[in-house]
């Protein structure tokens, strides 16, 4: 039903698509978050992701369960990267299959929004002269 993963290795969208492909569902919706080259106007050299892995997987499962309560999700893949990532690397993939498209968009957006609220994963931006834990301070 759910494929939840936290990994310090590159994430693979095709793995997620293969997992969610399901014969009774016509719509697959996918969100992929990548490392951007700037943040608040400053050039980002790399990002470092740290996770409280055990708890992060639990929280990801809670999000998936809640999404499944709200929408008719057949399968859901939720992968998050940890470690050092460079420009263009994939930080997160959320893929899910639903009978119809509208519920797929809603469910996928719900999951990524919820991830950013509750899943214990932290992102440090490394700039040319300094570094910063994202969202830590006002």
């Amino acid at each position: 039903m759910f494929d939840l993963k936290i990994s310090d290795q590159p994430l693979n969208p095709q793995d997620c698509l293969d997992f969610v492909n399901h014969e009774s569902t016509g719509a697959s919706t996918v969100f992929i978050g990548r490392v951007r080259n700037q943040s608040k106007g400053k050039k980002v050299l790399r990002l470092e992701f740290e996770a409280y892995e055990k708890m992060a997987l639990k929280e990801m499962e809670k999000i998936a369960e809640k999404a499944k309560e709200k929408w008719p999700i057949a399968k859901l893949a939720f992968h998050h990267r940890t470690g050092i990532t460079l420009l263009g690397d994939i930080a997160v993939i959320i893929a899910l299959s639903t009978p119809h498209r509208k519920e797929g968009f809603r469910a996928c957006e719900y999951c990524i929004d919820a991830l950013k609220e509750t899943v214990p994963i932290w992102k440090k931006e490394i700039f040319e002269n300094g570094e910063e834990w994202v969202s830590a301070t006002p």
């Binding site: 978050g33 899943v119 994963i121």
Partner: protein
């Protein structure tokens, strides 16, 4: 060491710190001896008192055994307490 009987009542908990909380504490993982039946709110207050930098953060939540704690929750021997600064995954 003089109040040995008191110390014996104390319990050991494990602290995990992540992200900026790890930077503030200077350590990611350590043991702590606390008084029995300490609540999570009391523990948080201790951390804030000893590390004023925590109050500069947007928030600091505590998790017990990899679940977000609830106010008033009482700690038990060997609990794993994680310091959760504002998350920023995705």
């Amino acid at each position: 060491m003089f109040r040995k009987s008191d110390n014996n009542d104390n319990m050991k908990i494990n602290i995990l710190a992540f992200g900026v909380a790890k930077d503030i504490l200077g350590s990611a993982n350590f043991e702590m001896e606390v008084k029995p039946k300490l609540t999570i709110d009391e523990l948080k207050a201790q951390f804030l008192a000893k590390n004023p930098d925590f109050s500069k953060l947007n928030s600091i939540l505590l998790a017990i055994n990899s679940e977000y704690s609830i106010p008033g929750q009482v700690l038990k021997e060997n609990d794993e307490v994680a310091l959760i600064p504002p998350v920023s995954g995705g």
